[in-house]
Structure formats: C-alpha cells, structure tokens
Symmetry: C2
Subunit: 414 residues, 2 copies
Amino acid sequence: MDFKDLRVNGQRLQGSLEEMAKIGGTPGGGVQRLTLTDEDKQARDLFVSWLKELNLEITVDEMGNIFGKRPGRNNDLAPVMSGSHIDSQPKGGRFDGILGVMGPLEVLRTLHENNVETERPMVIVDWTNEEGSRFAPAMVASGVWAGALERDWVYDRTDIGGKRFEDELIRIGYKGTAACKKWPVHCYYEYHIEQGPILEMEGKLIGAPKGILCLHWYDIYLAGEANQVGPTPMEGRHDALCAAAEMILKVNQLPGRMGGNMVATVGEIQNYPNSRNIIPDKVHFTVDIRSWDDEHAIKAWELVRKDFEDIAANRGCPIKIEETWRVEHSPFDEKRVQLVLDSADQLGYSSLHMVSGAGHDASYMNQVCPTAMIFVPSIGGRSHVEVENTRWEDCEAGANVLLHALLQSANEKL
Amino acid sequence: MDFKDLRVNGQRLQGSLEEMAKIGGTPGGGVQRLTLTDEDKQARDLFVSWLKELNLEITVDEMGNIFGKRPGRNNDLAPVMSGSHIDSQPKGGRFDGILGVMGPLEVLRTLHENNVETERPMVIVDWTNEEGSRFAPAMVASGVWAGALERDWVYDRTDIGGKRFEDELIRIGYKGTAACKKWPVHCYYEYHIEQGPILEMEGKLIGAPKGILCLHWYDIYLAGEANQVGPTPMEGRHDALCAAAEMILKVNQLPGRMGGNMVATVGEIQNYPNSRNIIPDKVHFTVDIRSWDDEHAIKAWELVRKDFEDIAANRGCPIKIEETWRVEHSPFDEKRVQLVLDSADQLGYSSLHMVSGAGHDASYMNQVCPTAMIFVPSIGGRSHVEVENTRWEDCEAGANVLLHALLQSANEKL
C-alpha cells in the first residue's frame, strides 16, 4: 500500500470523541472533566483500555502522564510523539484537549489495522492537568517532564478545597512509578482545536501555528475610601471601582493604540465591600497581554502601566501592581511547521500559517524537541465554553494531517 | 431650676457609648453587632438594664422593638419619642445608630437625676434591624410599626445562612407580645452622626436635615460572549466587563452632567466566569441614585439608562435593567426642624440646615408624626467603617440639643 493513500477512519474518530464526551458531560452539551477527579480517572481508564487494544507499551509516570509506545523497526532511534490532554475546563467543551489525544489514537489505530511499520517508534501521550483550572498553574505535567517545573512543587499545589495534587493523583490511581523526566524525542506534534475564529474567518481548514504568543499576566490592587454613598458628595470620593473601570477600558483600548499584533484582557475582578450602598474601597483585577512580539507586549504594558498610575493618582486610589507571570513567545520548529503545511497541501486541504494565542503542552515540548501543532476550526471561534464545537469532517481532516506528518517523521532515519 | 440651664452629663454619655462599643468590638476599633445575633442580644440586655434603673415602663413588641416610657404629668397626651438602633454594619463603627439610643438615654438620666417632670410622657426606642445588612431590607421594624411593611413578610426574611428573622428574634429572646403597630406620637427626634463630611467642611457643629434624599436602586445585567482570551482577536469580542466599565464611569459622571444635587454610585459588581484568561460573559452591577429632587433623580436615570442601552448595543452585550426600589424624598416637619436649629442656637452651637443622604428609621416615623433629626459631625466624613469617629464633645453637644428639643416638645400642651 502506498502510504500517500492512507487515511484515518473519521467515523471511528467521531465515535471515540463522542464516547469521551459522555464522561463529565454537562446538560449544556459540554464537558466538565477537571483534572484528577473521578471523571478524569474514568476517561483515563477508557483511554488506557484503548491503548491496550493496540498492544502498546503503556507507562504511567509519577506525574500521572500516560504514554503508549508503538515499536518501530529501529527502536534505538528516538520516537516521534503526539498527544494533548484529557482534562477540561469547568463547563468546558467536547474538543479542547481530547481531540489531541483521540487524534493520534486514531492515527495509531489506522497504522495498526493496515499493518504499517515505521522506522522509529511512535508515542502517544496524555499530559496531566493541562488546564490548570483545578490546580494552578496550567501545563504542569509537561512542564515537569520538560524540566521546567519542580515535581514536588507541583505535588503541593492545592485545589480550592485544600486537596493536594499528589494526594488526588494517588486517590485516582494514576501516580505511576516511572520518573517524570524528559527522554530523547525526535519531534512532537500536538493536534488541537484553534480556540479562536481566524481559520473560520479566513475560510481555511488546517492551521499550522508558527508558535505560541508570549503571555504576560499582571495583578492590580487598588485602595479607595469606603463610605455610606448617600451622605458622601461626589467631590472628594476615592472610589476604587471607578478607578478600576477606567483602567479596564485602557486595557481594552491598548491593542488599538499599539497598532495591533496583540490582545489585552481583564478577565477577573474582585470588589470590596461589594455592597450597593458603600463606596468600594478595595479592588483587585487581572491583566492578560499576549503578542507574538515580546518587546511589543512589554511596550504596551509600560504604556498602560503609566495610564494606571495616572488614573490612580487622579482618583486618590493608591495602586499596587504585581507582574505575576511572563512567558516569552515560543516559535515552533520551522521545518516541522512546514511539514504540517505540506501534509495539508498533499491531502488537498487549505491551510494557514498563523499563531497560537493559547498556551499548550506543546510550549514545554518545544523546549525539548522540534515541535509543531495542527489546528482545525472552532465554530464561531468559541472555546472554554459548553457550546465549543468543530465539524466532524474537520476533526477527520486534522487527523489525516497528523497521520501524514507523523508517518513522514517516523520514517526519517536521521 | 431653670430648664434653660439643664445640660446632659457628657462623661456619662461617653461612658455608655464606650461600654456599648465593647459589645461586638472589632480589632480595628469598630463594632460588629449584626441584628439578632448574640452581640445584639447582649447590647439589648444592657440597654434594658439601664432603662430599669430609671424605672421606665418597658415594652418589647413582636418585632423586637424596645420602648421605655417615662410618665408625664398628663399621660393622656401623646408622648414625645426619640431613639435609633443598636445594631451595626459588618465591621461598622462605634457611633452609627447607638449614639441615637445612648443620646436620649442620657437625656432621660439627666431629667431623672434632676427630678424634672414634663407635661407629656417621653418614650425612648431601639428599633430592630435598621441596617438591613444581615436581613435585607433596612429599617424593617420601624417600617412595620409605621404600617408601611408587613410583619409576616419581615418574619420570613432570611440571612445568608438561611436563618429566618422571626426564628432569630425568638432565639435571642426578644420576640415580645405587644403588637407592632403605631400609636399616637406627638413628635419624634432621631439623633445620629452625619455619616458625611458636610458639617466638618462647613465648620458647623449641629446639623438639622430638612429631610432625607430620595433613593433609587437599579440592577443591571449584561451578557457577553466567553472565549479563551489568547486566540480571540479584539475585533468582534463581546466583553461584558468592558461594557460594565463604561457604564460605571457614566454613573460616576452623572451628577456632574446633571449639575449636582445628587449622588450616583455603583457599589456592587459580580463578574462571570471571573477567570483571568476567559472573556467575561456575564456581569451584574447595581446603581444607587439619591437626590432631594425626585424628578431630578428620575431625569438622571433616564439619561444614564439611554447611555447604558447605547453602550450595550455598541459592544453587542444584551442588557437587562431592573428598577429595584424607589423611595421618594422625605421632607421632615418644618416646625420640628426649626426647633432643632433654635435649640442649637440657644445653646450657642453653630448649626446647618442640610439634607440627609442616608436613610434612617426617622423616614418611617415621618409618616406617623412630625419628625426631625439632629446630626453631629463624622470625622473625615467616614461611616460604615471601623474608623468611624465623632468627638466626645460633639456627642455631648448633640445630646444637649436633643435634651432641649425634647423638653420643649414634651411641655407642649397642644
């Protein structure tokens, strides 16, 4: 059989996704499968049972990452690898993460039933806790594997109920014995929904991100003066919520002022005492700035930081600013990105060279080996919500691109 | 003895206030004595013991209002009345409410030790749950007494833990047997801290509000579209928090645009899902508008409501507006207000004819009988906070004004 004609089974891929969507399925049509919960365990068990059907060599490491290895002709060569995550956001969707696990599973099934041998071994992976919504931060298990994070620090992360990461990992039976430590990988492909509207807007089927945007997080704390609203004249008020409102709009206007190539968002706000007849005296809010250009993002922050300080001074609301987290933009391996574009091309799919605004386990893998991603369109650009959706045909197309990118990579002798 | 020379005992008043401040005293120097809690009971018990020392006729009604009656020469005449409330805000101050109970107590003590007889009986009162911070809304017990609210509706109010008002009233032993129903009152004076900065700014000692501002409450609900912030371009976002931020600033600018004579405040906001990397898709916030001029307040609302609708349309964020509560402005009895001003004058105190921005039990009493209030300065205008403060000399001066307003009123034969 000519490998060029090989295709995944779209029906089977859809079936796997639908079966997974039942685990933690929500009335709103989404999925809630928070990391290290009973739902996560149930989905992992199902995944492992599917790996066993393919006679893969299964390893669970001490972070709960699940690897399934398919031997190659020459097992001394570094394997090619693909995977993503089984966990979801609270009230998340049926595609985020799981598509990138069911995709390579479908690839391996296709190779299996066609008795296709590859030169190098192939590894499928489910990374623990990509979302970070139960245990912050995100992508911790690929982070530990890549050597960027400390295992014991992650073990001690607690959820909102005070439960430890390690204890919950043990509880669901997925604290393995293998060290969570990188080993040589020839290259890594992560298949994922786009989570944005660009592919849909551009009318393209396959996205090949050249890398992941930089990510800068800030925490802003404002102080005001609480008083009964009725007897307190407008003049001389120190209303921390009004100061925050001005700042939120400055953040929203920032990409326009900087001439694009970035997004800037305030997603979270806490207001105190949060009583309708008391002037707010304490506000905390977050700022999230992302760009392909790290310097551009920092210049934007410096501009808006100056605005914040002016607004705080004008309103007499002392401000405290924390620069919480900065991750530089992560350019993927050009050759691997090109291979994704070429594979799409050979399959007759339209494609787009783009960027990824969201972080993925691929960010950490990119520190270990040549990495690329494959995106398929999110309907209406919706993600991290129950109505998140992607056409089944598009899921199949992305899996075919993954199949061919993996096949070609797995047959590279050097 | 010439009544003109009669003065309260400032030391004793201070002592009573200090003893009350121990009950529910907070580390920050304030008081937390929420209605119908153990602290409220303890303060009520102390208050009742003090009433007993003066041989007053004590009545507790079915709303827990405590009345202490001092006979006059002619007990067929309607009594004069004064009081306020013992309950406090969460982390409130040492003066709000309690000054208006300890003030008339000090007046009665002064009359008692000087064997002063009055024509009419005099009644001191502690109204249950003025604050409304544990059981909403505020001023319920004077409201029931005045016939403006239903007793059983108030009984069924629940706190945040689901406890019923009536059950808690029984628990602390203050559900009395007397009907909570108005009876003839000659006039009512309520002594209170100003809770605003006007007296301090004007350099005046005694405030005589001509009435209480109108109070309009609104609840605004905005919908947006939640999405992962990284992959979602700024164009086409429907960010409910940005829409709310614009609206909050419009509310803040409203008094300036309307040419004053009002205050407008957003005190409360809830944002969903309130996650730093998801665009907010649901926001609720409150609007509080107060003015002496009801029409002015309604015109202001119409103006800002139009702004809200424009902002919602521009941002593609559907808006739902609830007009939650409207209380008309409440002008006090001119003759009683003048008597407060005259009493201050005769005592050599500076005074100011002003308005009350905050609501008080006096609002409901104003529906029953001629009513006036006596204000003393709040240092820095601060109230509903632990640092709320008033000079002891000013507390004494206000009590002297109350003494003379009550004395003169209690000796009116008609």
